[in-house]
Structures are given as C-alpha cells and as structure tokens.
C-alpha cells in the first residue's frame, strides 16, 4: 500500500500529477519550471526511459548537474545524445519526434487555447496592453506540433475564461471537428490540463474541458467554482491520489532541494 504524504504544497501536487501522467520511453519537450521537475520525477519513478528534449537544442540529457534554470541552460546538455540549436529542436517537433509537450499560460479557455502574451483588448490595445506578458517562447510551437500536450495553469477564476484576451498557444481552437487539421496543424493538441484543483481532459466530441479527477480535498463543485466556464464532468470522475512520501522525498531532496521551482 502506498504511503501518502500529508504535507505537500500545491506545486508539489502538480509536479506529482504531471509525472504520473507520463508514459515511459516517450520523448518529452521540457519547458522551464514545474514541467522540468515533473519529468525528472517521472524519470526517477514510473518513466526511467523518458527522453527529455530542450528547445535550445539538447536531446536526451541526464540532469545530473542540478535543475536547469532555463531551457537554454548548460545544465540541459549533460550527457545528452544530440545537441544542436533551436531550429533543430523545433524541426524534430514538426517532424513528429516529440510525443508530449508541457505548456503553461496566464489564461486558458474551454478548448485548451492559452494566452501568454498580453492582458488587455486585442487587437485594439496590442501596442498598449494592460499587462504585457513575456510572449510565446516555444509554447506556441509546442502547442502546434507535439503529438499531444499537457497544460499546467494556476486554477483561478480570472485565468479559466470562456474567451481568451489573446490566443498564444493553440489548443482545440473553437472545438469544431478537425479544426486543427483544417488550420494546417499536425499535433493532436491538448490531452490533459493539470492544476492544483483537478486533472482535466477534453470531451471527444465537443473538445470542451472535462473534469477527470479532483485533487485531494477538492470536489467537482469546488473546481467549478474557480472556473470561469462550465466544465464537463467525466462519468467516472475520481479523486486523484495525493503525492506519496517517496515522491515528496524525491522532489525535496533530489530534484529541487533549493526550491527553485517547487516551493513548499
């Protein structure tokens, strides 16, 4: 029987959930921050054969120099199999070599489209936003061309919105049939959304977001309460298991001991 932790932070819950969703031996495009922690946790638990790819050019490194602070960090290159540059990494993605990409954003809509560009009226105030965010980075590309993506977003009412202020990373678009294919995209789009409140997927027909599991202590209602659109609820919705003591030990002692990304 698994020995569950009782003391863990929201970040640690997300990391654990992300890690558990990863299949062994898959090639995973690793973004900075929690995704990097999640991938490393998966490598130490259910996915020893996971192959991380960093957008600055490193394929299949071992993160034995500590957690990179950036996807362009020299730490992403240690004992890699192949290193070139950004074009190479994104062309691998475009070609189909990247199974899974992790993406975040400041806003998300019911179809898994994400905004990481601006808060304000678009297009009117594009040149004078209320808040300017850092921009797409590689997220816009991962969202288009990874085989599928996993989205990580802070679960707040103002972030889960029916309509984005700006669409940076393309999800299931307007949810219409074959919308991505018609647009010219290749990847299948978002498969899961992981938050501190729930694990969500997308309905096969409507492509709208659907609760698959609630995080410990949450209910369908409490999740809906912080979501700015109607969530669908899976028929077999379940409670996601909390992090095990071993998962927490790995995060705290081995992967991110200085709490660079995973605060306690």
């Amino acid at each position: 029987m698994t020995d569950y932790a009782t003391d863990y932070s929201p970040g640690e819950m997300i990391v654990t959930a992300g890690a558990r969703q990863l299949e062994n031996n898959k090639v995973i495009f690793a973004g900075t921050g929690l995704p990097m922690v999640g991938i490393t946790l998966a490598q130490l638990t259910n996915g020893p054969g996971i192959i991380p790819v960093f957008e600055a050019g490193a394929v299949g490194p071992t993160l034995d120099r500590g957690l990179p602070l950036s996807v362009g960090d020299s730490r992403t290159t240690s004992r890699a199999n192949f290193i070139q540059g950004l074009n190479s990494a994104f062309e691998l993605t475009q070609r189909g070599f990247i199974d899974i990409g992790f993406i975040g954003g400041a806003e998300i809509d019911p179809y898994g489209n994400l905004n990481s560009t601006m808060i304000g009226n678009f297009p009117e105030n594009y040149m004078k936003p209320v808040v300017r965010l850092p921009g797409s980075g590689g997220a816009g590309d991962m969202s288009c061309s990874c085989t599928y993506t996993i989205l990580i977003v802070q679960h707040e009412l103002r972030r889960f919105v029916e309509k984005l202020q700006y669409c940076t990373s393309i999800g299931h678009m307007d949810g219409s049939k074959d919308a991505r294919k018609k647009a010219g995209l290749q990847g299948k789009g978002p498969k899961w959304v992981i938050t501190t409140k729930a694990l969500m997927g997308f309905d096969d027909e409507t492509k709208r977001m659907k609760i698959l599991a609630t995080m410990p202590g949450e209910t369908v209602e409490s999740v809906q309460a912080v979501t700015g659109f109607d969530l669908m609820v899976d028929a077999d919705v379940y409670e996601f298991a909390p992090p095990s003591k071993e998962e927490i030990r790995l995060i705290r002692d081995v992967i991110d001991p200085t709490q660079i990304f995973c605060k306690r």
Partner: protein
C-alpha cells in the same frame, strides 16, 4: 511589405559585394560597435534567454548610444532589458523603436519589467513571433531564401500581429505558414572560441547564433578565448560559423557575463537578480536605483574588463566552478552571499 533590416535582395547584394577574404578581423569593442552599429539598425541578438547573451556588446552600444534600434531575437532576457533600461533612463541617448521576438523575460527569475514598462506605456512597437518562427526567420535569411514554411501558429493570434502569411501548400493542399526571412543589419554574438579570421566554435547548444551570423549584413563576435587558426584547421567540423560571415572579432573573457556561457561559467545569479530587482523597482517608480546601476556598471566603466573588475571575485569564481560540473561536486562549493 515592410522589411526591417535588409530585404532578401539587399542582403544578397551586400554579401555578393562584401570582401570575403580571410584576414585578421580583430578589433577593439569600441571600434567594432563604432564601425558596425548605426542608428536605426536591426540588431540580431545571439544567445537564448540568459544563456550566452552578448552582454559586453550591449554595454558598449549603451555607452556609445544609438537611436531607433530594432531588436530581433527569439528569446532573450538580459540584453533587451539592458537596452530597454538604458532607453527608459535616457531616451535621447539610446532608443529602441521596435522588437521582433518570441519571449522577453528571465524564466526562473520572472518576467521582464522593462518590457512591461515599455509596452504598457506604448513606447515601442512590438511584433510577436514564436521561438520557432523567429529561429526560422534567421534560418531563412541564412539560407538565402525570402521565406520558410513552418507548421506553427496557424489559427492563433500571433500570426495576426506579424508579417507571416498562410498559404495553401501547392503539393499537399493543406494550410501552411510562410514566415519572412530576417536579415539584421548587424548580428551580435558571444561565442567561446574564435580565430582571428572569425571562424567561431560554439560549445553546447548553438541556439540560433550560426543562423543569425549567416543572415546578417555584418557580424560582431566576442569570444572568451581567441584560438590559433591551427586548432580550427585541425577539426573544421567543429566550426560553427565560417570566417567570411564575421566582420569583427573581439577577444573578451566574460563577454556574456553574468549570463551562462557553456563550459566557461554558469550564471552569476546574484548579479542577474540584483539587476532584475532594479528593473522591477523602476517599473514601480524607483528611477534612481536603476540609474545608479547604469552609472556604476556601464557608463562608469570604459570596458568589460572594468565591469568584470567590479564583480566580487568569489562570484566570478563560483560561476566558473559551478559550470559543467555534476551536482555532487557542486555541493562542496560555498555559494557567495549577495
């Protein structure tokens, strides 16, 4: 259609007519920036976020002052922040009119307050791209074609704000995005090693430095170490950029400090976060602290040697010792205290 920097035809003609001889291209930083960076130039910024950013070149551009610059890069942190900070403090001395980019920020260390300040106050023109589309724009320029097709950005808002065009592929009949080449007037790059002719060796990830070099009209390279041409000739497959793409070679140890330079030094997190904190404070109204930083570290020094001289030795040492070393070996080091 507006081409910033050079149009493909102009870029081709310039390289055709350029002196491509294998000659000694060493220059001082002052000379290099005087010669190759002009008001209104489109500057292609090498490196990636806070990795191998051409910090020393940016400092010299700030010292000399330039107007109406255009910055082109995929993801960058410190260099745009330094330039935007200089503009925020003294817009008559240095100004940026436009940025074409995918990400401006510091990853683990947060968003760019200078980008926020400039955009939220409508002081610069912004063109958003993705990391791949900007990388591919440099690649198109490097390849000598006016565009490349990519499969990113079809159906989102990014391509509504930029010059990309969606066409139907004449072979597959599916939609595909065409992104126009980017030919900067000047590419600014820091590399680990170069010879006097400009042959460059990049360690670790190349980011898009080779593409920027091949796409640009002129290229300034700083290198941590000047190496004998013999070393290049003994293994030319390690050359990342061929000499004829480079116009100025400046030997400049720590030329990308405090960003990480693969195999040379890791980040100086203390200095990076100190500067970042000052930009955050600026956005919230504290102009003086940031101005004091520029006076002390940029305007108040003649060159990068003097800048580095102001960094406490234990920070330099720690940055070098933590680079390319496994975690076990790093735990025996004592981190400097801010």
């Amino acid at each position: 259609m507006l081409w910033t920097g050079l149009s493909p035809d102009e870029a081709r003609t310039y390289i055709e007519q350029k002196d491509k001889s294998k000659r000694d291209k060493r220059m001082t930083m002052t000379e290099a920036v005087q010669t190759f960076v002009k008001d209104g130039d489109n500057i292609g910024v090498g490196g990636f976020v806070n990795s191998r950013q051409p910090v020393a070149i940016a400092h010299e551009i700030i010292r000399q002052g330039r107007k109406d610059l255009i910055l082109s890069f995929q993801s960058a942190g410190l260099v745009p922040d330094y330039l935007l900070g200089a503009m925020a403090l003294k817009p008559d001395h240095l100004s940026v009119q436009r940025m074409e980019f995918a990400y401006c920020g510091h990853e683990y260390a947060g968003t760019s307050s200078m980008l926020r300040y400039m955009t939220e106050n409508e002081k610069i023109f912004i063109e958003d791209w993705t990391n791949f589309s900007m990388s591919a724009r440099f690649k198109a320029g490097a390849m000598g074609v006016p565009f490349l097709p990519i499969r990113s950005g079809l159906g989102g808002d990014i391509e509504k704000c930029n010059r990309s065009q969606t066409i139907q592929c004449p072979f597959s009949q599916r939609n595909i995005l065409l992104i126009p080449a980017c030919h900067p007037d000047v590419g600014i790059l820091h590399v680990q090693e170069a010879d006097i002719y400009g042959n460059c060796r990049i360690k670790g990830q190349t980011f898009t430095c080779p593409e920027i070099a091949m796409a640009s009209k002129n290229v300034i390279v700083t290198c941590d170490k000047l190496i004998d041409h013999e070393i290049i000739a003994m293994d030319p497959t390690r050359t990342s950029i061929p000499f004829f793409a480079v116009d100025a070679v400046v030997e400049l140890p720590f030329g990308s400090y405090p960003t990480v330079c693969h195999d040379i030094h890791y980040y100086d997190k203390i200095h990076l976060e100190h500067f970042k904190g000052l930009t955050d404070a600026f956005r919230k109204g504290d102009r003086d602290s940031l101005a004091a930083y520029y006076d002390a570290y940029i305007y108040g020094v003649a060159d990068t040697d003097q800048f580095i001289d102001k960094i406490p030795y234990n920070q330099l040492k720690y940055a070098r010792q933590t680079e390319s070393r496994n975690l076990e070996l790093q735990t025996h080091l004592t981190p400097p205290i801010a």
